[in-house]
Symmetry: C2
Subunit: 614 residues, 2 copies
C-alpha cells in the first residue's frame, strides 16, 4: 500500500513462458521447443542477409561477391554462440537472460548495462520486425510502398491493441507460422539450387538499383561492416536458454538439443540464401527486399512468391509481438529490484502489463516515424544492443566457470571467452561505423537508462530508510478523532455523511465556507436556518473567507484543529455517484477541490463517501 | 459537496466588470464608460465595411457604388438599436444580457435559444477578431500572408495563456487602445475627405483583385446580403446595456449617454469609411484589408499606415479577449440554473474559469483552422448569432412594455418591435444566403446546444429528486464502525495507518491478499511472522485469491463484512507522499487499485492517509 514493496526473494529469473502449475505433459520437447522458441531467430533471416548485401553494394558487383564469405563468417560466429548458449543452459537450468547472468556474476553495474541494452533491444526488435514485415508486404504490392510509415504504425497499433486486451501468452501458438516460414524458405533454397538462372525478376523490375559503383578492391572495414550488420540475423538465439523451465524433463538435455537444432536451421537458411544471392548475381533495389527477389528468382512470380511474402510478414509481426511479452517481464524484474517504479511490478486485476505495453508502443512508434519505416536504418542500432547482451552474458559465463573450477573449466571458459571477444568486437565495429547514422542514439540512451535505474534505486533506498523498512515499527495508539464534514446544502447525502461521520468520530463538526458577497451570505443563512430546524445533533461551523475560495479556508480550519495534541482530524467528503456514466460531468468538483487543498496543506485523513444514485 | 448546489436566488444577471466592493469613485462616467465598453463595437469597424464591399464586388464596380447606401441603411438600423438599448438600460438597470431579458419575459425555451446564440457568438467573436487582427498584420507585412493560420493560432494561444493565468479583469485597461484606434480611424477619415484621389495604392499593388465582373444591374437580394453582412459591424452595441452597474450614479442616465455616444461614434466611423470607399473607387483585393487600403489612400504608405494597422491588430486581439471574460460568466449563469454542469459555476481557488477558457480556446482553434484563417468566411456565421440575440432581446422588451403598460408604452414597444423585425429579417436573410457557406453550422449547433441544456437540466432535476433536495432529511445515527487496513509489509507507514484506523473504528482489521504462487506465499508468511512479533493488537487477516488480483478480493471481503446490519465498513488506505514531485512515479499504485475496486463494488467509505516524507 506504500511506494515500497519488499524486494526480497531469490535472484529474479525470467518467468517461464508457461505458468508453473501446468503439468509436465504440456511442456516442450526438443522439437516443439525448437518450433515454439525459434521465432525471433528465424524471423531475422528476413533482414539479416539484406543487411549484408546493402553494405557490400557500396563496392558494386565486386563487393557483392563477398556475400557468401561474410555469411560463412557469421555462421561460424553462430556456431560459437550456440556452443556458448549450450553451456548457459547447463549452468542456468532455471532460465534467465543476460540480466540474470550478469547480476549473479558481474556485479550490479554491469547487470544494469545488460538490462539497459535488453530494454533497447526489445524496443528495436519491435521497430525492426514491423518495418521488415511491412517491407515484405510492399515487396509483393509495390503500390503500397509510399504508405509504408502508415502501414508500420497500423501494424504497431494492432499489436499494441491485442496486447492491451491481454494476449493468450502461449509460445505454442507460434509453432505453425514458424514452421510455415522455415519450410517455405527451405523450399525456396532447394528450388533455387536446382536452377542456374533466375526464373523471374519481375518483382525487382522498374525499381532503382542501390548499387553504388563498381570498385575493384574491397576494404577490410567494409567487410567488417557487412559482417556486423549481418549479425543482426543472430538475434533470438538466446531465447531457448531463457526458457529452459518450459521444457519437459530432462530439461537441460532437451533444451540443448533444441538450441543446437536452432543453430543448424538458422545456419542452413543463412548460407543457403547467401549461395543463391551469389548464384543469381542478385543486386539490391529500392522497395523490394532481397528475400522477395530470391523468392521471385527461385520460385517464379506466382502464388509461391506471395506465400513467402505473407509468411514473412506474419512471422515478423509475431516477432514484434514477442517484445510485448518480454519487455514487461524484464521491467517487472527491474522494478522488483527497485531499479524502476514499482508500478511495473504491480500484479493487479489484469492491469499488470499496461504500463510496459504502452511505453513500448510509444517509443517504437517514434522510431518507426523517425526511420521513415526503413528496416536498414534500424538494423545497425539493433545489432549494437544484441552484441552488448551477448558479450555481457558470455563474460559472465567465463567468470562463472572460473568460480566453479569444475572439470575442463578452462576449455568451456575459453569457448565463452572467445565468443565474448567476437561479439564485443562486433559491438564496437557497428557502433563506430554507424555512429553518425543513428548509433549515437544507442550510445546516448544506454548510459541515460543506467543512470535512471540508479536514480530510482537511490530514491527507493532513501524512502525505505525514512519508512524504517525492515525494522519493527512503533506500536499503534488511539487518538481522539474529530471528523469534519463540509456541507453546502441539506439532502439525503448530508444525512448519510453525518451518519458515517458519527460512526467514525468522537466528535463531528459540519463546516460551510462563506464569502461576504450578498448572494453567498443569503445562501449560508438559509442553510443555517434549515440546519437548526433539522437539528441533527452536530454543530454547523461557518468558516468566513475574504477571497473567493473553498479549499484553503477548510484546510486552514483543519490545520488549527489538528494542532491540539492527541487529536486526529479526518475530513469526510460526501459525493453523489450518478446512475449513468455521462452524468459524472454534472459533478461540481467541490469535493475534489476540498480534498486537494486538505491534502496539500494538512496531514488529515481524507475520507470520501460515495452516495450511489441507482 | 454533492453534484448539486442549490439554484436559488434572484434572476441571474451578468456580473459587472468591476467587483461589487469597489467604491463609487472607481466607477465609470459616461466618457470613461464609453471608452471602456465600446471596444467590441468599434473593433467591428475593421471587418464590417469589408464585409459589405466583398458582397457588392460580385457585381463589379457598379455594385461597389452601392457601398454608401447600404452603409447608410446599416447606420439607420444602428440608430434603432441604440434607441432600443437606451430603453433596455432603463428597464434593466442591474444589467443583463439577452439571456436575462429572455428568461424574465419570454420563458425558459426562448431564453435557452438566446443563451445558445450568445455562446456561439462568444466563440465566433474570438475567431473573427483573431482572423481580422491577423489580416491587419498581414496587410502591413504581406510576406506573412502564407502563414496566417499559424499566426491566428499563435495569437489564440497567447490570449488563452493569459486568461488561464488569470487576467486583470478591468475594463479600464481597454481605454487607451480603444482611444488610439478611434482617433486614428477618425484622422484617417478626415485626411481622406481632404483628398480627391488616393495618396498611395502601394499596399494593394500586386495583389489579385476579387472583383468578379461588371454587372449593370444590382439585385435586391445582393443588397440584402451586403446589408446583412455589413451588420456584423453592429456587434458590441449591447455591451453598455449589460454593464449598467459599473457606472457612477445616476447609473441609468450615464449609461444611456454612453450608449448614444457609442452609436454616434460607430455611425460616424462607418459612414465616413463608406464615403472614402466610394470616393477612392476602392476595389477589394486578396490579402490586403479594405481598412489597410483606406489608410494607404488617406495617409500614405508611411508610419501612419503602420500605426493604423497595429492599432487595429491590438484592438482586435483585445476584442477576442473580451469573449474569454464574457463566456465563462454566461456559462456560470447557465450552470447556476442547472443548464450546464455545475463545475462551470464553481468558485474555488482561481480555478473558476479554467473549464470555460479551455473549451472556448479549443472550439475557436477548430474554427480558425476550418476557415483557413479567413475573416470573411466567419463573419456571416457571426452575424446570425448577433441578430438572434438582438431579436430575442427586443421581443422581450416589447413584452416587458406590454406587461408594464407605463405612460407612452405603445411608442417604446413599437420602437423595440421595429428593431426586432429588422434584426429578425437580417437573421433570416444571412442564414438563407450563407447556408451552404457555413451558416448550416449555426443552424445545427443552435438546437444541439439547446437540447444539451435541456438534457442537463432534466438530469439535475432527477438527481435533486433522488437526493430529496429542499426537504428536511432523516436525522443521522451512529453505526458500529469497522475499519479495514490493507497491508503488504511492516513500516512506520503501517504503524501510522493502524493508529489512524484505531482512532476511527470500533474495530480494526488489517488484511493482506495472498496468491498461491510460492513467492507470494513466502512473502505473506514472512509478513505474518513479523506481525505476531510486532503484536500491534490488531488481527491480520489473510485473504486468499486464486487469480492474480488485489482489488477485487479486498472489495469482496468488505462487501461480506458490510452485510451485517448496523455495521459501517471503512477502508483506510495508507500511502507515502514522497518529498519530491518526480518521485510520485515511484508509487506502486496498489492504493489506487484497491480504492478503485472498493468504490466500484461496495458502498464503503474510502479513507486515504498520506504519510509525508519531508
Amino acid at each position: 500500500m506504500s511506494v515500497l514493496t519488499t524486494a526480497s526473494g531469490p535472484a529474479p529469473v525470467d518467468e517461464p513462458a508457461d505458468p508453473p502449475d501446468t503439468g509436465e505433459r504440456h511442456r516442450l520437447t526438443a522439437v516443439t521447443g525448437l518450433a515454439a522458441l525459434s521465432l525471433d531467430a528465424v524471423a531475422s533471416v528476413a533482414y539479416g542477409p539484406e543487411a549484408i548485401v546493402l553494405v557490400l553494394a557500396v563496392a558494386g558487383g565486386h563487393g557483392l561477391g563477398f556475400t557468401l564469405p561474410v555469411t560463412l563468417a557469421i555462421a561460424a560466429l553462430l556456431a560459437v554462440l550456440v556452443a556458448s548458449y549450450r553451456q548457459v543452459i547447463a549452468a542456468f537450468p532455471d532460465g534467465g537472460g543476460s540480466y540474470a547472468v550478469a547480476k549473479a556474476h558481474l556485479g550490479r553495474r554491469t547487470s544494469l548495462v545488460a538490462a539497459a541494452s535488453l530494454v533497447l533491444d526489445y524496443v528495436l526488435n519491435v521497430a525492426v520486425a514491423v518495418t521488415a514485415g511491412v517491407a515484405a508486404l510492399t515487396s509483393a504490392f509495390p503500390e503500397l510502398y509510399g504508405e509504408r510509415v502508415w502501414l508500420c504504425l497500423g501494424v504497431l497499433a494492432l499489436i499494441t491493441g491485442v496486447n492491451l486486451r491481454g494476449v493468450v501468452d502461449s509460445a505454442r501458438a507460434f509453432i505453425v507460422p514458424t514452421a510455415v516460414f522455415v519450410t517455405s524458405i527451405l523450399v525456396l533454397i532447394v528450388a533455387g539450387l536446382l536452377r542456374s538462372a533466375p526464373t523471374s525478376t519481375e518483382a525487382a523490375a522498374g525499381h532503382a538499383s542501390v548499387l553504388a559503383g563498381n570498385a575493384t578492391t574491397v576494404g577490410a572495414l567494409l567487410l567488417l561492416k557487412a559482417f556486423a550488420s549481418g549479425c543482426s540475423a543472430l538475434t533470438g538465439v538466446e531465447a531457448i536458454a531463457n526458457a529452459v523451465p518450459s521444457f519437459r524433463t530432462p530439461r537441460v538435455r532437451r533444451a540443448q538439443h533444441a538450441e543446437v537444432a536452432l543453430g543448424a536451421v538458422l545456419g542452413v537458411m543463412l548460407i543457403g540464401l547467401a549461395v543463391l544471392i551469389s548464384r543469381f548475381h542478385l543486386q539490391p533495389v529500392q522497395g523490394v527486399t532481397v528475400l522477395a527477389q530470391l523468392a521471385d528468382a527461385s520460385l517464379g512470380h506466382n502464388a509461391a512468391f506471395y506465400v513467402v511474402q505473407f509468411a514473412t510478414m506474419t512471422l515478423l509481426a509475431l516477432s514484434a509481438n514477442t517484445s510485448f511479452g518480454g519487455l514487461p517481464v524484464l521491467l517487472k524484474l527491474l522494478a522488483r529490484d527497485n531499479y524502476l517504479p514499482h508500478v511495473f511490478a504491480l500484479k493487479a486485476d489484469r492491469q499488470v502489463h499496461r504500463h510496459g505495453v504502452l511505453a513500448l508502443a510509444l517509443v517504437s512508434a517514434a522510431l518507426l516515424v523517425l526511420s521513415g519505416g526503413d528496416t536498414n536504418t534500424l538494423v545497425p542500432l539493433f545489432a549494437i544492443g544484441v552484441f552488448i547482451g551477448f558479450t555481457v552474458a558470455q563474460v559472465g559465463m567465463v567468470l562463472y566457470w572460473r568460480e566453479r573450477r569444475g572439470p575442463r573449466w578452462r576449455g568451456t571458459a575459453a569457448l565463452n571467452g572467445f565468443g565474448a571477444v567476437l561479439t564485443g568486437v562486433c559491438a564496437v565495429v557497428v557502433t563506430a561505423t554507424k555512429f553518425a547514422d543513428g548509433a549515437w542514439l544507442i550510445v546516448v540512451a544506454l548510459p541515460v537508462l543506467v543512470a535512471a535505474f540508479e536514480t530510482v534505486h537511490r530514491a527507493y533506498g532513501r524512502i525505505g530508510a525514512r519508512l524504517g523498512l525492515g525494522r519493527i515499527p512503533e506500536p499503534p495508539h488511539r487518538d481522539r478523532s474529530v471528523v469534519i464534514v463540509p456541507v453546502s446544502h441539506l439532502s439525503k447525502l448530508t444525512s448519510e455523511a453525518l451518519t458515517a461521520a458519527a460512526s467514525l468520530g468522537d466528535e463531528v463538526r459540519a463546516v460551510t465556507v462563506c464569502h461576504p458577497d450578498p448572494e453567498d451570505r443569503a445562501q449560508t443563512e438559509a442553510l443555517e436556518r434549515d440546519w437548526s430546524l433539522w437539528d441533527p445533533g452536530v454543530p454547523l461551523v461557518r468558516i468566513p473567507t475574504a477571497r473567493r475560495a473553498l479549499g484553503r479556508p477548510i484546510a486552514a480550519y483543519v490545520r488549527d484543529l489538528a494542532a491540539t495534541p492527541g487529536t486526529r482530524v479526518t475530513v469526510l467528503i460526501p459525493e453523489v455517484e450518478p446512475a449513468r456514466l455521462w452524468q459524472r460531468v454534472l459533478q461540481n468538483q467541490r469535493g475534489a477541490v476540498v480534498a486537494h487543498a486538505v491534502r496539500r496543506d494538512t496531514d488529515a485523513v481524507i475520507c470520501r463517501l460515495r452516495f450511489r444514485l441507482g
